[in-house]
């Protein structure tokens, strides 16, 4: 791993490092110095982020997988499904609590289940292509990289289970 990659990997720890420096500076030299260190850290952070932001504008490369996943989002129907299922759960609860009659529950529940079924069918349909793709890829992967044979008891190192 080169230093640039290493720095990028350690990105989540930058604020912790800054905090450590602030606390150390503060305890050794007082609050004013702690504030100055925090200011310095924020200045560097702001400039780096602004530079990275400008870099993105001029970057012609397609997005990497991690970058794409960062921006990806569940589709609208997925959220609708969650919403309908939540409403159905509420309805069942109200029925159990005796807030609505059996007839009202049957009517409303049937309507919601119908809506949920329709959404699930649409989602399954749209996932079909991706599912096939995953299966094909898995098959190809398994062909190209055969699953290693299961080790027999005689091959085990002493103490290995």
């Amino acid at each position: 791993m080169n230093p640039e990659e290493w720095l990028l990997k350690a990105r989540p720890f930058w604020p912790l490092l800054l905090l450590f420096c602030v606390v150390l500076g503060g305890s050794l030299y007082g609050v004013a110095i702690a504030l100055l260190i925090a200011s310095g850290g924020l200045l560097v952070l702001g400039l780096v982020l602004a530079w990275m932001s400008l870099g993105e504008l001029t970057n012609e490369e397609p997005l990497s997988l991690d970058e794409a996943l960062e921006l990806a989002a569940p589709e609208r129907r997925e959220q609708e499904k969650a919403s309908v299922l939540r409403a159905l759960k509420d309805l069942e609860q109200e029925h159990r609590f005796g807030k609505i009659t059996d007839t009202e529950f049957a009517l409303e529940s049937a309507r919601m289940r119908q809506q949920a079924k329709r959404l699930l069918a649409t989602l399954d349909e749209s996932a079909k292509a991706r599912k096939a793709l995953v299966e094909a890829r898995l098959k190809r992967l398994m062909k190209s990289q055969p699953v290693p044979a299961v080790a027999t008891s005689g091959d085990r190192e002493p103490g290995e289970t």
Binding site: A32, L35, L36, L47, E70, L71, G98, K131
Partner: protein, 718 residues
Amino acid sequence: MWQSLPEFGSLVLYAVLISAAYTFAVAVAASRDRLRWLRSARLGAYATSAFVGLAVFMLAYAFVTHDFRLRYVAHYSDRSMSLGYLLAALWGGQDGSLLWWSSLLSVFVAICVRWMRGRYRVLQPVVIATLMAVEGFFVVLMLFAANPFAVSLAGAPAEGEGLNPLLQNYWMIVHPPALYTGFVGCSIPFAFAVAALVTGRLHEEWLLAVRKWMLVAWLALSIGNVLGMVWAYEELGWGGFWAWDPVENAACLPWFTATAYLHSTMIQERRGMLKVWNVFLIGLTFFLTIFGTFLTRSGLISSVHSFAQSDIGIYFVWFMGLVLATTTGLVIWRLPQLRGQGRIETVLSREAAFVLNNWALVGLMFFILTATLFPKLSELVWRETIVVGPPFFNRWAAPLGLLVFLLMGCAPLFGWRRTSGRTLRKNFVAPAIAMLVVGILHITLGARLGYPAFVAKDQTAPGILGIITQKLATSAPLITIVLAALNVVVIAQEVVLGLRARLAASRERQATESIPLALVRLVGKNRRRYGGYVVHLGITAMFIGFLGTAWSLTREISLSPGQATSLGDFTMTYTGPRVCPGSPACSNEENADTTKRMVFADLQVKKGSKSLGRLSPAKFIYNRMPGSPTTEVGMMRGLLSDLYVVVGSANPETKRAEFQIHVNPFVSWIWMGVLVLILGTAVSIWPEVSWGALGVWVLTRTSLRLEAESRVARGESS
């Protein structure tokens, strides 16, 4: 001393402005599905937040190092102030409070942008652009009207003027940040509402996104307002906690609309109705947060809380106009998509109860707003000076508040869509019995215990309306206690029903579950519902606290040393005045404080035959502001009542002192109520559904990762 600090501070503010403007432009461009630009906008938002943080730390550094070249630092601090108050001075005046607002917004922006990672791709660019526009407004305000890094034209004084003594109270260290967090937090739901309107994605997506942000903002508003009450109660020394002061009123206005939204959003989620109303409520809540700041800072209305006044009002007027025009324009544009899918079928439904509750809350908000602005309006239009005082507010706000309290109790008893008569009768039996029993007990025993059911009030308005309000005010204690019983029993009934249903389901599955475990699981599975009920319990406790004012006792008395007086269950004996530093009776800490002269008037307090100790109400005369002595309240808190003593004056020659003594019942219930409210909101905010657990989403992510890994294995490039 850092020679170039003032210039550098201003430079940082320019950097914030440039960064916010750049991010706004990139975010707008990113809304055309340019993913690289969206990444750039996200990084730009983080950078803007970092620069705002830098500006705050720079100002804090200037305060800590007593850099009196900065006008703001010289005006609001001096060398004698402790570190806590030096940092609190950051928001003690106008210029700093604008920077503080901006910094809290930047924290919200950073958290929101991080949170949007992997969600709301279509809404994200507009959300970021809207937040940057709000951030930009506050920076423009600082740069062109109220720069905290501006230098004194007369040069740096040797010593600063010091923070207003009224602000040197520990509650003042936490009250403004909490209130501002609530104000600023409302920007996020507003940004999502604008994004939904601009993109036309007006289904449940944005509502789900906004719900928790609104809850966080609402919680902070609740805490901020209550901390303000604590500060007023302890520091202003008039015996109460809410005086219907214009600035207090402005701070509570967004709370009403936010509360209304938190209920009406459930109707849209459940029934697809009230879409325009929900957008209106979010827009109005945001507008009111800006309006509240405008009222505090513009000097439009004089108030004990308006510590800073200036001519920045016109900037706010323009910004409020822009917010109003943008929101209205977008709503009109999207009106066809905002039409509701259903309608209220009967008044005997939960949605009808919620709509009534919304009308009462918004009505209360408009009443307070109108009454707050009416004196100014009368002065401008009719050239008449009118004073709208607490009695007027109390006369009208109390019935509206009780209506909200009634609806809060009744709404959970209704089912969605419609509730049959039989179900309703069954649900109302226990609460009705409880109300009846509590009402009878209150009427028969209340007066004997010192909490009468009826407290006579004068008729303050002519005609039938005057008679009705007088009767309502007289019977307010009974009504409040009966409604509190309704609320508590309804919540208890809901929990019992839930437990019964859960235990029955366990038995059907032939599984055994203890009652405490079933309760924990019940709440865990329905955090929103039961968290809401806990919040209702907190509000009920607060209502009892507010009711306590009806039974409060007050006495003004002049005492010589050795004389005693009684009020309620308390007996107080005046032992004489004490001036610190200087008197041998002063503590070491009091003698060491040379920043002020403290005149104490000590009282020995007894309840029955039990001694409760010494109370030392005082007047503090600060060396820097000898003309404005502060009142220091002597207080003994209790679950049933607080003893609250204020000293008016103490004659050093005759040693005679004037006292104002209050016995305030149930005030502690307000503070306890807010703690319960915090607990309930925390339960409600806890996440229920994680995107990671959604089936298709997992499949999509897995397929993408597998595909990428197989490409890498084959040596293909991305």
